[in-house]
Amino acid sequence: MPHITNAMICTCTNCISNGALDIKDALESEIKRRGLADDVLIVPTGASGLCVKGPILVVQPEGIFYQQLKTKDIPNLVEEHFLKGRPVKKLMYVPPGEESPIPELRSIPFFKGQRLIALRNRGMIDPDSIDEYIARDGYKALAKVLASMTQEEVIKEISDSGLRGRGGAGFPTGRKWESRRKDPRTPRYIVCNADEGDPGAFMDRSIIEADPHSVLEGMTIGAYAVGASGGYVYLRIEYPLAVKRMQLAIEQAREYGLLGKDILGSGLDFDVQIFKGAGAFVCGETTSLVASIEGRIPEPRQRPPRTTLWGKPVVINNVETWANVPAIINWGAKWFSQIGTETSKGTKVFSLAGNINNAGLVEVPMGITLREIVHSIGGGIPKGKKFKAVQTGGPSGGFIPASLLDLRVDYEQLDKAGSMMGSGGMIVMDENTCMVEMARYFVAFTNDESCGKCTSCREGSYALLEILNRICKGEGKEGDVELLEELGEAIRDASLCGLGQSLPNPVLSSIRHFRDEYEAHIKEKRCPAGACRALITFAIDDEKCTGCTRCAKNCPQEAISGEAKEVHVIDQDKCIKCGICLDACKFDAVIVT
């Protein structure tokens, strides 16, 4: 029989020094004595975040937070709370001068499921102060590597940790480093790919804005491991604050001799500069990025076995990958590889956007379900609407429907569902989102961003877009869905780079999971989500309308008429289907069909 209640006792160093272990023993014997051992499970936990108030006991599922416990409190606490179900107010965490306690941060669903490794300093340090980074174990990993590890040992540690590229493809980082280290050509280079361009993605920007030194330290450790002497942060110019903070971080690191000649007196020479990208989406692709740094037009090339910069070996990793490196060195490969799933270790940073209550930046252990991310951490869908799909992987990814919400997030599982991990953008869509329109939006994006080198991508995306435009306008024809599928597969097979190969994904995955929506558009000239303007009409329900005149006052076309306190009517000839009346009406009287 499962336990009804969990008693989580914090056993961090701080709480133990305050007597947490005595409390735990007292709790165990008292619970046994009261015959509650089958109902209450005692769980020792790690630092709760409030440990200055230790020893701390959190009772779940209620989330009640007891603090500064003493062994003599325990019999009363067990009797009152666990036996009689009456939480003991005087032992609860109460801020000074307050009647009712405010919740503990880690009991709030948004923070509860998160675990910060890449974002370990977010919101805690001043990103413009290298000293504050150092105070939180900053540059200790670099010092450790330089003082006590060989290149091989560093690479082995990264390989053993199971760290995979966080830019999306998930290539094992250690293996990438090893191949560059063995390349006899010099000089070698380190690049941080911060050319984040997916709509709705802001992980890389946030990491750099919050903690630029974690990225620089990771890159410097990488430089030592592969024997590199120069590095670039390829950072798009649309991120002015990130550029500014990274620039300052580089200058501070140089001043301290953490970049430049003879780093920490170890003999390692390595320096980094920012390369500002002009904002072309294709530059995030490895060969284009390299071309851009070399001063050429950023068109992808046939991928050589190993990408080079000026004909020399280069390690290109994403911002989040680099930010993970110092933590792995400090805490060990074993620690890191215990987090996550069989094939995907550690955590992943996601940016939650779209129809979601808690839009923001989250870092979660790999293997967490999409349901937890969307409904627990994300707080569900606004206005009580139904969840329809989540889009991962940006314009290269796909849609994941409600039926797959229990999917465990890792590289392989997302791939299997027809989407991809991607860099971590997660766009949540509610029941009023049209999947055909969303597919159209992403294809319009890639069509715009296609560099134009391959016909399949340049013309193929255009052909897809034309068909999707027609379907959304109600001009779809029988056979359009099959044509989209055929075209999509051809584009995937015939394009040179990742942008082209993956651009059909939003179309193919939306057909795979939402074929009925395509058919409704084509056969019935109907948009089931009520989103495609050409296929919907707005009308007023005469039973619900109270004649409040709000809709008429707000209509920019003056298409709504009616006297006060009488039913209003929409003139279909004037209506432009902007939906303002729908938002304005407080009585749900505007109907979309």
Binding site: G46, A47, S48, G49, L50, V52, K53, Y93, P95, P96, G97, E98, S100, I102, P103, E104, L105, R106, S107, I108, F110, F111, Q114, R115, L116, I117, R122, G123, M124, I125, D126, P127, D128, D131, E132, I134, A135, R136, Y139, K140, A143, L146, F202, S206, E209, A210, D211, L241, E255, Y256, G257, L258, D262, L264, G265, N357, A359, G360, L361, V362
Partner: protein, 127 residues
């Protein structure tokens, strides 16, 4: 600034811990305004300005006003974290200049948490 040696890292860390982490030293309260792009877009500069003015007006010597980046919950920005010595940090959400002023007078100066603007107390799970 001279170039540092590995042993200097601990020295710098200790120095910062003394001033910023409120263990010892002159500081009693630390105010962190979360100034990532999301915070700034939502109005963190107004909050910062209001707090700077309050600091000048109150002429306090034991309060440190500093910045940090996005606290994760972008949809509730502008956010401020208040750390009072020996107490868990309190995170405030959905702020503006006026609310920031009240937090300054009630929590920073008066020691009373403004619970209607507070989200929660404590810190996140790291590592």
């Amino acid at each position: 600034m001279p170039k540092i040696r590995p042993e200097d890292l601990d020295r710098i860390g200790e120095k910062i811990k003394r001033t910023m982490l409120l263990r010892e030293g002159a500081c009693r309260v630390k105010i962190i305004v979360h100034m990532g792009t999301c915070g700034i877009a939502a109005g963190a500069r107004d909050v910062m300005k209001a707090l700077t003015q309050e600091m000048e007006k109150a002429d306090v010597k034991d309060v440190l006003l500093t910045i940090s980046s996005c606290a994760g919950l972008c949809s509730r920005e502008p956010m401020v974290t208040i750390e009072v010595k020996d107490q868990p940090a309190v995170k405030y959400v959905d702020l503006n200049a006026e609310k920031a002023g009240k937090i300054f007078s009630d929590h920073v100066l008066g020691g009373r948490i403004v619970s209607e603007y507070a989200l929660a107390a404590g810190s996140e799970r790291t590592l």
